[in-house]
């Protein structure tokens, strides 16, 4: 998968979950900006698993891995998505 394609699909997932405009800076914390909270996070992980056909194991359920667009991209890339 190309980086651009992964990025576009990730933003699509995030827009669906947050239903709000996303920050211009991919490094911005989605939790600190209020776009994600503890109840949206499980939905986000499930949506990423579905969109990218991956399984996020329990040991990877660390909020920091999903704190920003760039961190999520890193995680997806590391897991072959």
């Amino acid at each position: 998968m190309s980086d651009a394609n992964r990025h576009a699909r990730l933003l699509g997932v995030l827009k669906t979950i947050t239903a709000q405009p996303l920050p211009a800076d991919d490094d911005e914390s989605l939790f600190e900006s209020g776009l994600l909270d503890s109840f949206a996070l499980p939905d986000l992980v499930s949506a990423l698993e579905q969109e990218f056909s991956i399984k996020v194991p329990d040991r990877d359920l660390n909020p920091r891995k999903f704190d920003s667009v760039s961190r999520m991209e890193t995680y997806l890339e590391d897991h072959g998505a």
């Binding site: 996070l41 499980p42 359920l61 909020p63």
Partner: protein
């Protein structure tokens, strides 16, 4: 040797702390509290009331409903994460107030998952010791008032106690199976020790609970070759309404199948699952199969199937 659930009991203090009152204490609005948690009010015990007092009231309610004298008990187990530190724990106090002089009384110093772990142990112990009374009792108001109130945790918690009588004698619900799990690498994600304020990494707690509670339920059902659709009710730790609905969604069952009283009592930690069971059993005394599940500080989690 099979074990059976013979009845439930519960006790909640009289004082109701509404969201309106809580909002004034934490500087938020009542609407924000309900939107974030599904909680509308909680009960707080008086300053003089101890965890053992709450446990005793639930124990008496349970024994009365089960038609069993305290002197017939073979063991009592008291789960609590909010009992004052030191020894002895509240189990000895409860046993003494029940008039028991020789009956083993075991403390399970665990928060939210304590009553579930107590039930699983009791199911194994009942054949050897006789009827086991399992109690979950919490005075969470003392926990949150031990430091300046923090909005995200203070709004959640309430006081109360629940109880269940487990016996090898034939009863209404047979415990078919139990699964228990712990993962101490998350021990700092939700912690309290009376010297510092309650620490809760809400993101980590919800993320793990939303995954581990359904997975333990599916594990216990799978071992008994049953599906979630066959279960009459899910009696879960009442952490907050959003988590209860998320568990239902993960299991593919309607939200109504997960019993909820969190709006009235808030999160009463280890007491909550048994308070829910007591109230549910009075509304639906013949229904089954039943699944119990809890998740809490540790992390500890698991599920019990009864039919």
């Amino acid at each position: 040797m099979p074990a059976f659930l013979h009845g439930f009991g519960r006790y909640v203090p009289e004082r109701v702390v509404t969201n309106e009152e809580m909002a004034g204490l934490i500087g938020r609005t009542a609407e924000w509290i309900e939107g974030a948690s599904g909680i509308r009010e909680r009960r707080w015990a008086s300053a003089q009331t101890s965890v053992a007092d709450l446990a005793l009231a639930a124990a008496r309610d349970c024994l009365g409903r089960a038609g069993v004298e305290a002197t017939a008990l073979g063991m009592i187990i008291v789960a609590s994460g909010s009992a004052r530190p030191g020894f002895p724990g509240p189990a000895a106090d409860v046993a003494a107030q029940l008039g028991l002089e020789n009956t083993p009384a075991l403390d399970v110093p665990m928060a939210s998952a304590g009553s579930l772990f107590g039930m699983a142990m009791a199911a194994q112990m009942a054949a050897h010791f006789g009827d086991v009374l399992v109690i979950g009792a919490e005075k969470m108001s003392a926990v949150i008032e031990s430091a300046p109130l923090e909005a995200n945790t203070a709004m959640l918690f309430g006081d109360g106690a629940g109880a269940v009588l487990i016996s090898a004698r034939l009863g209404r619900w047979e415990i078919l199976d139990a699964v228990l799990h712990s993962d101490g690498q998350y021990r700092d994600s939700l912690a309290f020790d009376w010297s510092t304020p309650l620490r809760m990494n809400g993101l980590s707690v919800i993320l793990q609970a939303a995954r581990k509670m359904p997975s333990s339920i599916e594990e216990v059902l799978g071992r008994q070759k049953m599906s979630a659709a066959e279960v009459a009710v899910f009696l879960l730790h009442q952490a907050n309404q959003n988590l209860l609905l998320r568990v239902a969604k993960s299991l593919g069952v309607p939200g109504e199948r997960v019993y909820s009283n969190v709006a009235r009592y808030g999160n009463t930690s280890s007491a909550s699952m048994l308070i829910a069971a007591a109230e549910w059993s009075r509304e639906s005394p013949a229904a089954g199969p039943v699944v119990f599940s809890a998740f809490g500080a540790g992390f500890h989690w698991g599920a019990i199937l009864a039919k």
